[in-house]
Amino acid sequence: MSAFIAAIRRQPAPLLAGLAILTPFLVMCVFPGLLAPYEPLKIEALPLLGPSREHLLGTDEIGRDLLSRCIYAARTDIFVSLAAAAVAFVIGTAIGLFSGYIGGRVDTVTMRLIDVLLSFPTIVLALFLITIFGREQWVQILAIGLVMMPSTARFSRGEGLVLRGRGYVEASRISGGSRWHILVKHVLPNSLATLLVAASVLASSAVLISASLSYLGLGAQPPEPSWGNMLRAAYGVVYDAPLYGVGAGVCISLVAGAYILIGEGLRRKFRNDRNVGTLSSSIGGL
């Protein structure tokens, strides 16, 4: 046990802080009923009550408990953002590592295509995809994933290029390792540390983009709660209940911030192995 605690204490502070913030949200995401004091869709009290002991964040425009709605919203928000980040990560790193490792003409063509995708402003491309393919949740996940994919590909391509020149890769090539073998057994495992840092930044951007979409009314549809659509509702009642949106807003920032902290923590953890760029090198704003 003490060895376990010692192992935890050796981890970088941002990593621990990020995990500490994220864990309650993951619990909310999987077991919202455990933490929520009320039902998210049931009318419990008078509308637009301020914070009180019964309703810690107050009630919404028809008297549903805001805290419970914030907690249930984690289910949609965290699921969509993690799924989208996973889409971007898997496709992006596959393209990037392959292109960087192979190099040559394949690489040039792939990167030109990535440049074209990068020319579309993030939200605009996501909105375009949603217009054409519909508003279902899976479309949203793919749309957010696809708009974040090009920067991931760009980033992991750099990794592929760097690793291509490493001694162990050359050794494997000389001893007859196939391209596929080298990519899966040598390039992927050795770039994983760096890519994990990028993945946590991706997750952070995904939270912000998916909240933006549901703020715009294109994500989870009412009455289903999401942090974005709660903030939208907050604007309508800002003169009557100024604190309405604070809970949802804080949730978005905490989750997005937790991912960035985890990324920064991982970066510090892996820094001894190899330099993996700075926080700002992989950060994506909206």
């Binding site: 440049d115 020319s119 217009t131 807003g249 760029g277 992989s282 704003g285």
Partner: protein, 343 residues
């Protein structure tokens, strides 16, 4: 938008791997031809996505047209199909579409109004808001980073850095709400949303502009600050700075004459790229403050499934990005003699 900057320690990565988009677009492969190629690919992709519409593309793209009788609409669909060359191969349809797009003809929106006119009247409000935010964020970031750099109070500097980091995880619609709660709901100084055109009433126009412009500017400011701050700190340890101190220049002179000009360079790229993809922020901020610009039009058109308008805005904003990125790269070359020597 996403801004990538090369990791400081990447000697293995060749020129082509530098993730500065502007530099990649032009610096590596060189010329205007590259710009044209990207524009071509962007328009092709937009066209292909539009073509992926379920059902008859024209039927979907024309929309319900409330002012038209069913017969008139059917007639319009038929004539549009012919005009767009839907009986011809896909490549030919693309040529027609691009030719029309270049002459500003994006067809009719779902209400039967020319997309060109609808988009045109949104340009002025969008440009006003966008330019105002870039001015605020650039000037603000410059002043604040110099303050943080030159101050002796560590607490002040840490406070600025902390705020800049926090702003990166506060989305615009949440930041806007905070500002509206404080300045509109509580203090009552500024209107919470709306728009008055400058020609109608300049004073009111500016009053309505303040909150959206600041909401749009603050995250940019935080981003610019982070680059400027890093630039200032990196540059301050450079040998030429030590040399100018050794020549007896005042700290002030060193900071403004030698450190600042060199530290600003990387930030110029970031400012340019942010300016080029301003639409991402405008989409949210214009929705928050009911500012009648392109961003709000885009959101409304997406909801109404107004394909022609959405496609026009997508193409326009992607073009704007590519052209601005190109101009930034040119500006960078003019400002930094080292890049000229390399190429």
């Amino acid at each position: 938008m996403t801004v990538d900057v090369a990791p400081a320690d990447s000697p293995h990565i060749d020129e082509g791997a530098s993730p500065r988009r502007g530099a990649r677009l032009v610096g590596v492969l060189g010329q205007l031809g590259q710009l044209v190629a990207v524009l071509f690919a962007v328009s092709l992709l937009t066209f292909l996505l539009l073509d992926a519409l379920p059902g008859s593309a024209v039927d979907a793209r024309i929309g319900p047209l409330p002012n038209f009788s069913p017969e008139e609409r059917a007639e319009l669909v038929a004539s549009m199909s012919k005009q767009l060359g839907l009986d011809k191969p896909l490549a030919w349809q693309y040529v027609i579409w691009v030719k029309n797009a270049f002459t500003g003809d994006f067809g009719l929106n779902y209400q039967g109004i020319e997309v060109r006119d609808v988009v045109g009247e949104r340009l002025a409000p969008t440009l006003q808001l966008g330019i105002a935010s870039i001015i605020i964020s650039t000037v603000g970031a410059l002043l604040i980073s110099l303050l943080g750099f030159r101050t002796r109070w560590r607490a002040l500097r840490a406070g600025i850095q902390g705020t800049a980091t926090v702003l990166l995880v506060v989305p615009a619609f949440w930041l806007g709400l905070i500002l509206v709660i404080i300045f509109a709901a509580e203090l009552g100084w500024l209107p919470s949303a709306g728009y008055v055109s400058f020609s109608d009433d300049p004073g009111e126009n500016l009053r309505f502009l303040v909150l959206p412009a600041v909401t749009l500017a603050l995250p940019q400011l935080a981003l610019f600050y982070r680059y400027l701050d890093a630039g200032l700190r990196d540059t301050s340890t450079a040998p030429f700075v030590t040399a100018s101190r050794a020549r007896g220049l005042s700290e002030r002179g060193v900071a403004y004459r030698h450190i600042l000009p060199n530290a600003i360079l990387p930030t110029i790229t970031v400012i340019g790229l942010v300016a080029g993809s301003l639409i991402s922020g405008l989409v949210i901020v214009e929705s928050v403050f009911s500012w009648p610009g392109l961003g709000l039009l885009l959101v409304d058109s997406v909801k109404a499934k107004d394909y022609n308008t959405v496609a026009a805005i997508v193409l326009l904003t992607a073009f704007a990005y590519v052209v601005v990125a190109f101009m930034v790269d040119v500006a960078y070359r003019l400002l930094d003699p080292r890049t000229r020597r390399q190429s």
